[in-house]
């Protein structure tokens, strides 16, 4: 299973599923990362975390530990 945590800079992915429950999952979904959403990994912060991605036409940054609940596949 590939998660957003392992995503590579410069690659494009599609969200397969969001794992977990509660506030964080909802928050991530509210920001537009839902099933089937396409995303592009833009860069990783200088200290190695968080990750910046383009999703639904805007820039979103997400910490790797939080990104772990997002299952993705390459596309």
């Amino acid at each position: 299973m590939l998660t957003l945590k392992e995503a590579q800079t410069g690659h494009d992915y599609e969200v397969v599923k969001l794992h977990g429950t509660g506030a964080m999952k909802r928050h991530i979904m509210d920001m537009g990362l839902t099933k089937g959403t396409k995303l592009h990994i833009r860069r990783v912060a200088p200290l190695g975390d968080p990750v910046e991605m383009t999703v639904r036409g805007y820039e979103l940054s997400l910490r790797k530990a939080d990104a772990e609940i997002v299952e993705i596949k390459e596309c």
Binding site: R26, Y58, R63
Partner: protein, 718 residues
């Protein structure tokens, strides 16, 4: 009759700019998500009977973040006459997601698609007619910045609010979901508020606990509803909340493909190009360091100091003080009155006003950083480092703003979602020296260190060090244990701030500083002057020549022993530290009066003689450390009280700050005395014990590891 229109939308869509344009008020606009941390209201220009309410920016109406709860409680309970939904035209998709939720509230909605100037420049086209018929509400294109389209918007909004033209949500969910929603609606018939059934039914479907609690439905009914939800969840193989969210976004993205045409999809924007450099792997941190250095170097050391010197030495030192003295002499006023005006009011208030130029320069930089969009990048760059000691990158924003003033800094902590992280940020934000502490730093630097360049930066390092140490220590206590808050943040596109916007922010902050000098500080300088000039002398109560006979001295001597272990047991220092609680800059004014100076300039040359008797170099720095870290001024303590929303937490925070300041100043003074004199005394022993304790708290293993408690305060403070 008064009508109410709520202004709602995503963070960073130009809501505050629109609010200013609609009401003619002067709110500052920053370019990082979460500028509006409190509700603001103002009347609509040309419609005195319509009140506009600016809500905090939100992404959704979920029950999870403080701002969303504030907004939705307001919308559901207060029921404004209309919602003006501002939507960022350059980022329709995520913005319309919120609109789908607003449409369900049963309140008339008007949609304003903002940033027309930008979308037009990009060559993008938005078909508002399609958007309007698909969403079920009037849609207008505007540019809040240039004022385009605002006239029509005002008229439409006024008409909608007055006529209550209810907008019906046109979007629907998939078959199974609608089926379950119909069941829930039927089961709860008569139990839900009229006009809001759609909203409540969907929230019940999502198992929103706030709504479940507020409706007080019977357990049997909840079970019945739950069985309906579970049927759908099994059919669609997902949980109810995800199903709703997914379908909303599906609806929105389909709609967008019909109503929006984007040109130049794959071209790099200017914002992208800037980001390539400032968030670059290798350059980001050096660039950040250079920017921070420049901000403080320019405002504290160069331009700011020159201007401040001029105000202190020339304006006050050569013109106002001697002038006022001569004028008083020529009028033949009594000596005590002359003393009150020249030595009390002018030296006290003047000492504080002298720092206005420095502050203005600092405020210009802060306003620029806030408005251009760099703040969010700072949080992005530094998050990893902050997480190491239990804070989030978002904690940096309150701290940076706190370097201007602690009060808005503390309030900015509201963008942090989880309660423990928020509390910790509130507790530690005021460790960063605010602009009012600058005079203290400048005073000590000038009087004891010949204005050495490193003193001011060292004060910031003390503040940063205190935050790091406190973060690690507090994170290991039971109250703050648990997972760090998630870091999910939008990085808004950069834009050039308007001069008017920067001017507004600088004016707002500087004027409140000046106002404080004219009120609180004026009063307390008069009080300090009075207490220090009167006392029981040889002839009973009256004006005393010797300061040591004064009332203030008597009070000061009672509390001075507390600070003796820190190296400044003299009563004047104790009194000054105490008056610093009213306002930090007051401390300098108090010294000005106590040392009988007509003007306490930060050069401190006048201070040398008398000042040096009471302080050594080490005790002066210990005094500085204590005053930087201890409880902030009354205004900031008030902000802490409001934001903590609990007396216990408030007292805990203030107590922690004072205790921490005392410990650090004690250790610093005692160890530097030991190193220079080699005498091991009781104080040194105490410092050793304190150091050992701090080291233990720092390095002990975290005892409360996996008890993540996500606590949300449902009754946010006003």
């Amino acid at each position: 009759m008064q009508y109410k229109i709520a202004l709602a939308g995503n963070p960073n869509t130009g809501k505050t700019t629109l609010f200013n344009a609609l009401t003619g008020s002067n709110q500052f606009v920053g370019n990082w998500p979460g500028v509006t941390v409190e509700k603001k209201e103002g009347t609509l220009i040309g419609h005195p009977d319509i009140l506009i309410q600016d809500l905090p920016g939100i992404y959704s109406l979920s029950p999870y973040t403080l701002e969303e709860v504030v907004s939705r409680t307001y919308l559901v309970k207060e029921r404004p006459d209309a919602i003006l939904n501002i939507v960022d035209g350059t980022n329709l998709e995520r913005n319309l997601y919120l609109t789908t939720q607003l449409m369900e509230l049963g309140i008339p909605v008007i949609m304003a698609v903002n940033m027309l100037d930008v979308t037009r420049k990009n060559g993008d086209i938005i078909h508002t007619d399609i958007l309007s018929s698909a969403m079920g509400c009037p849609v207008l294109e505007i540019s809040a910045r240039t004022g385009e389209g605002l006239k029509e918007l005002v008229e439409t909004a006024a008409k909608t609010a007055k006529h209550q033209t209810l907008s019906e949500p046109r979007h629907t969910f998939s078959g199974p979901v609608e089926h379950a929603l119909a069941h829930i609606e039927e089961a709860t018939q008569g139990l839900l508020p009229e006009h809001q059934t759609r909203w409540y039914v969907i929230k019940l479907f999502e198992r929103d606990s706030n709504v479940q609690d507020s409706l007080k439905l019977s357990p049997g009914l909840l079970d019945h509803i739950n069985s309906n939800i579970e049927a759908v969840e099994n059919e669609l193989d997902d949980d109810a909340e995800s199903i709703i969210t997914n379908e909303r976004y599906q609806f929105v993205s389909q709609l967008i493909s019909k109503c929006a045409v984007k040109k130049n999809r794959h071209q790099l924007t200017t914002s992208d190009k800037i980001d390539r450099i400032v968030t670059n792997r290798f350059l980001a941190l050096p660039i950040f360091a250079v920017i921070m250095f420049l901000v403080y170097y320019v405002s504290v050391t160069t331009i700011g100091t020159d201007a401040t010197d001029w105000v202190n030495d020339t304006l006050f030192g050569e013109i106002i003080v001697p002038g006022a003295g001569e004028l008083m002499d020529s009028w033949g006023v009594a000596d005590w009155l002359k003393g009150l005006v020249v030595d009390g009011i002018i030296s006290g208030v003047g000492a504080v006003l002298g720092f206005v130029p420095q502050m203005v320069v600092l405020f210009i930089f802060l306003a620029f950083l806030e408005a251009c969009g760099y703040m969010a990048r700072i949080a992005f760059i530094l998050d990893r480092a902050f997480r190491k000691f239990g804070l989030s990158g978002k904690s940096f924003i309150p701290m940076l703003i706190g370097s201007g003033c602690g009060v808005p800094g503390i309030m900015a902590s509201r963008t942090i979602e989880n309660q423990p992280d928020r509390r910790m940020t509130i507790m530690t934000t005021t460790f960063i020296p605010c602009s009012a502490k600058m005079p203290i730093i400048a005073l000590i630097a000038g009087a004891y260190f010949h204005g050495e360049w490193w003193v001011a930066p060292s004060a910031y390092f003390v503040g940063i060090g205190a935050i790091i140490v406190s973060g690690i220590i507090l994170k290991k206590t039971k109250m703050f244990a648990g997972d760090p808050a998630p870091f999910i943040m939008e990085l808004p596109a950069y834009h050039m701030p308007t001069i008017g916007n920067i001017a507004r922010s600088v004016w707002e902050r500087s004027s409140s500083f000046i106002k404080k000098a004219g009120t609180v500080i004026l009063l307390s300088t008069i009080l300090v002057w009075f207490l220090s000039s009167f006392g029981y002398g040889d002839e009973g109560f009256g004006m005393v020549e010797d300061l040591n006979d004064s009332v203030l001295s008597a009070i000061g001597q009672k509390i001075a022993w507390i600070f003796a272990p820190l190296g400044w047991g003299d009563w004047k220092a104790a009194v000054a530290a105490f008056t610093g609680l009213i306002a930090k800059e007051n401390l300098v004014g108090t010294f000005g009066i106590l040392y009988g100076l007509a003007e306490a300039s930060e050069e401190g040359e006048e201070f040398w003689g008398t000042f040096a008797q009471d302080f050594s170099v080490t005790s002066a720095y210990s005094f500085l450390v204590f005053n930087l870290l201890c409880a902030p001024c009354v205004a900031a303590m008030g902000a802490i009280r409001r934001e903590m929303n609990s007396t216990k937490w408030w007292l805990g925070a203030i107590g922690y700050q004072c205790g921490f300041a005392y410990c650090i100043a004690l250790c610093f003074y005692q160890f530097s005395e030991f190193i220079s004199n080699g005498v091991f005394g009781v104080g040194t022993a105490a410092a050793c014990v304190v150091t050992a304790l701090i080291l233990y708290l720092l390095f002990r293993p975290a005892p409360h590891n996996d008890t993540a408690v996500v606590e949300l305060n449902p009754s946010p403070s006003k």
